[in-house]
């Protein structure tokens, strides 16, 4: 069975400083991995996805993630946080076939002025 573990339930950073949201995955297959963002009272939006091409994946709004098979990790980073980045972030793994998504518990990102 596939699963993801988001290592932090809450991350707080100051505006303009780097962001790191950590995710480890478990999968029997070559996984497809995603990061989604959820702003309050809004739908989930795809930030980026890894599908066995380049291990460094660039997404929207300056986010990127690196797939590390040896560490079974897919951490999300951004060089400089903006107030608008405050939201809930979900790391997600897919079985690739029927594309059944399995979500992590989420990391709430708070940006301090």
């Amino acid at each position: 069975a596939q699963s993801v573990t988001q290592l932090d339930s809450h991350v707080s950073v100051s505006e303009g400083t780097p962001v790191l949201l950590r995710c480890n995955y478990s999968s029997s297959y070559s996984p497809s991995l995603f990061w989604y963002v959820q702003h309050p009272n809004k739908g989930l939006q795809l930030l980026l996805k890894y599908t066995s091409a380049a291990t460094l994946v660039k997404g929207i709004n300056g986010f990127e993630a690196e797939f590390k098979k040896s560490e079974t990790s897919f951490h999300l980073t951004k060089p400089s946080a903006h107030m608008s980045d405050a939201a809930e972030y979900f790391c997600v793994v897919s079985d690739g076939g029927a594309q059944k998504l399995v979500f992590g518990q989420g990391t709430r990102l708070t940006i301090n002025p």
Partner: protein, 117 residues
């Protein structure tokens, strides 16, 4: 391009009542999903449709939940009777279908927030 539409956005009911949610996927998307997101957790898949057929409903509590997708477009999710633990956001998502290896993006609607009192 219009996104995934859901209604209502909010619903408050008493336990043991019935409730229905509606989803209109992105035009041309053959695959449709319903997820349940309990407060403080990630979404959990309830049911997946391919056109108007069910692909996976292994996590749907079939004694009280039902879903249909007539004509392979709109879908409705029903709960009858509702329990307190059904309080959650119900998300609908859709994607195009490009075969077993497809990794196309799932697009999510804004969700319906259900409160059961």
């Amino acid at each position: 391009e219009a996104g995934v539409a859901q209604s209502p956005r909010y619903k408050i009911i008493e336990k043991r009542q019935s409730v229905a949610f509606w989803c209109n996927p992105i035009s041309g998307h053959a695959t449709l999903y319903w997820y349940q997101q309990i407060l403080g957790q990630g979404p959990k898949l309830l049911i997946q449709f391919q056109n108007n057929g069910v692909v996976d409903d292994s996590q749907l509590p079939k004694d009280r939940f039902s879903a249909e997708r007539l004509k392979g477009v709109d879908s409705t999710l029903k709960i009858q009777p509702a329990k307190l633990e059904d309080s959650a956001v119900y998300l609908c998502a859709s994607r195009t279908y490009r075969g077993a290896k497809g990794t196309d993006t799932q697009y999510f609607g804004p969700g319906t927030r259900l409160t059961v009192l």
